[in-house]
């Protein structure tokens, strides 16, 4: 029973109390870059989730055989292989989105969340726990991305997932989409707002 509780924390902790973006403030760069619209944000979130989970498993399996002095290189090789697979997959089956995401799929290799989880968790835990940890962190990352993208796409282009939400009659009445939402600076302010709300709700996160 105790074991189960721990595993549950490993999976669900990163969604809120230990969120990689809003609490650990990692992976901000990609969160600003891919959240102009919901679709690329979703794809990016899922890609990161798959890559973190799988690389966590792989590294956890071989954690006892990796020499300590070259562990970063080994981790990078594993991540790079998975990133390449995901990138090729996207190019084959979702070419439009992969064009929109451009270099950011490739740059998952340098995402701090990945290296952080590998170093902090997978190197010291069993494969199943590592898998759940990767899944949870990827999900926590994806949630923040999607929430940010929701507001940016709604107010920046008046649509969600490409479907028009703001009716044409509003535009004729003088409504204008907010161009600042399309700029990364506004994404940073939105992230700050998410962190603000998160901390206001979860009192444990507030500094004394």
């Amino acid at each position: 029973m105790k074991m189960n509780e721990e595993l549950k924390n490993t999976l669900l902790g990163p969604l809120s109390k230990n969120n990689p973006i809003s609490v650990q403030v990692l992976g901000i760069c990609s969160a600003l870059a891919v959240t102009v619209e919901m679709k690329p944000a979703l794809v990016m979130g899922v890609s990161v989730m798959i890559i973190v989970a799988l690389s966590n498993v792989v590294i956890s399996l071989i954690r006892n055989t990796i020499p300590n002095s070259v562990r970063i290189i080994v981790q990078l090789v594993v991540v790079a292989a998975l990133v390449t697979v995901v990138s090729e997959f996207l190019k084959a089956f979702a070419f439009d989105v992969s064009v929109q995401l451009s270099v950011y799929i490739g740059l998952i290799i340098t995402n701090c969340i990945l290296m952080g989880r590998l170093e902090a968790f997978a190197m010291a835990n069993k494969p199943w726990a590592s898998f759940l940890d990767g899944l949870g962190n990827g999900l926590g990352y994806a949630i923040i991305l999607v929430v940010t993208a929701f507001f940016r796409e709604l107010f920046g282009s008046g649509s969600l997932l490409g479907y028009r939400i703001v009716p044409q009659s509003w535009y004729e009445a003088g409504y204008v989409d907010n161009g600042l939402m399309m700029l990364p600076s506004m994404a940073l302010i939105l992230l700050a707002c998410i962190i603000w709300v998160h901390r206001a709700v979860d009192k444990e996160l507030q500094e004394k």
């Binding site: 003088g174 204008v176 907010n178 161009g179 600042l180 939402m181 700029l183 302010i189």
Partner: protein, 399 residues
């Protein structure tokens, strides 16, 4: 006055703690301190205050802004009736401009003060006076045709994110009015630039409607020079008549509401300097920096029209004078040390002209220059203070 005092004293318990309307105590405080001096003594800390508190300072700034505001209102009407080809006389022009500017002023105050009161309520503080100037500045630095809902959104954004999250009046890093304008500029660029927004061609409160006459062009001088080829074009007003330095100095040209008239702005500057509210060092060094950089571009600049613009034209066009007198001198965001003020102002002038000349996307650089230097204000102060400490240490050690 006694009459007002009696009413306030009678309703005060209702708004105090335990009273029926205690939730609205911030609103009550705001009205009370606006009308009378509250009958409260300091309970701890400093007991002797200067008579010139922040309320009086703010009021002096408002008085200094009034010439530019009145001129701006008249100019709105003046440009409007030229554009629709009617002659109505001075007072009708002013009345039209007044009616056109009034809604923006009201929206700015209602939205901004509303947020201030809510924030003060949450923090359990008094409502600070800081917004009175900001709310007055906002309608002066936007084009007259800015839709009111955009003003409301931008004001709310600026007051919340540039002021309240940093701790309210006196703690903001950036000039709140300029953040409002920057938000409008980046969020709704079509409503803030181009040549269709600076002169009102529609009516104000169903009055003064008309069609723009043939040959009308609402481009500002800086807008005109932005699209010019290599040599400096002769500026022209909205009907194509040539205008020169003195027209721009007096200010009967299209532009943001309160920023066109360098003359009216200088009147305000005199008020600010005589009362000691704003720093003459910052004003002078902004103009100096702008002139210096413009001269450099004249001598070695790229071969574009705006690089050839003489230095004295830079100082009277666009928002340069308004920014130098009313925005750069904002005591909260500017440098505080005396040497720092010279550096701070000079760099604002330099940056404004650099942005104007080198970035074709931004025909006006004053807003961005001041916001940029707001960030560096504290850093400049730090270096000035450190230099002073070092100098004095040397004196001690040499003995």
């Amino acid at each position: 006055m006694n009459f007002i005092k009696k009413i306030i004293d009678r309703v005060k318990p209702t708004f105090s703690e335990g009273g029926k309307l205690a939730k609205l105590h911030s609103l009550f405080d705001a009205v009370e301190t606006f009308l009378v001096v509250p009958n409260e003594t300091t309970k701890n800390g400093v007991h002797i205050h200067d008579a010139i508190d922040s309320k009086r300072t703010m009021f002096t700034v408002i008085i200094a802004l009034i010439p530019a505001m009145l001129f701006g209102m008249w100019n709105v009407g003046y440009q409007h009736f030229i554009a629709i080809g009617q002659e109505v006389g001075f007072f009708a022009e002013f009345a039209f401009g007044f009616l056109a500017v009034l809604p923006i002023l009201l929206v700015s105050y209602i939205v901004g003060l509303g947020i201030e009161i809510v924030a003060a309520q949450i923090r359990k503080e008094e409502v600070a006076e800081g917004y009175f100037v900001t709310g007055f500045l906002i309608p002066m630095i936007v084009p007259i045709d800015t839709p009111l809902w955009m003003v409301a959104v931008a004001t709310a954004f600026a007051v919340i994110f540039a002021k309240e999250v940093f701790g309210g009046t006196g703690y903001n890093i950036f000039n709140v009015a300029l953040i409002t304008r920057a938000f409008l500029f980046f969020a709704y660029p079509t409503a803030m630039s181009g040549d269709a927004v600076w002169v009102r061609t529609r009516d104000a409160f169903w009055w003064g409607a008309g069609e723009a006459v043939d040959g009308f062009s609402g481009a500002t001088p800086l807008g005109q020079i932005g699209v010019a080829e290599t040599s400096t074009p002769a500026f022209h007003d909205i009907m194509g008549n040539p205008i020169g330095f003195w027209d721009a100095f007096i200010g009967w040209i299209p532009g943001s509401v309160g920023e066109t008239s360098t003359l009216a702005i200088l009147l305000g500057a005199i008020v600010l300097i005589v009362t000691g509210v704003a720093s003459w060092k910052i004003m002078l060094s902004v103009f100096g920096g702008g002139a210096f950089m413009a001269l450099i571009f004249n001598l070695w600049g790229p071969d574009t029209a705006i690089a050839h613009l003489p230095w004295y034209e830079h100082l009277v066009l666009g928002g340069f004078a308004f920014g130098a007198v009313f925005m750069a001198t904002d005591p909260v965001t500017a440098a505080r040390t005396e040497t720092g003020k010279w550096i701070y102002g000079f760099l604002i002038g330099v940056m404004a002209v650099i942005i104007r000349v080198l970035n074709p996307g931004y025909p006006e650089g004053m807003m961005l220059a001041i916001l940029l230097m707001n960030v560096f204000g504290c850093l400049i102060d730090w270096f000035v203070v450190q230099a002073n400490i070092k100098k004095r240490l040397k004196r001690v050690n040499s003995k």
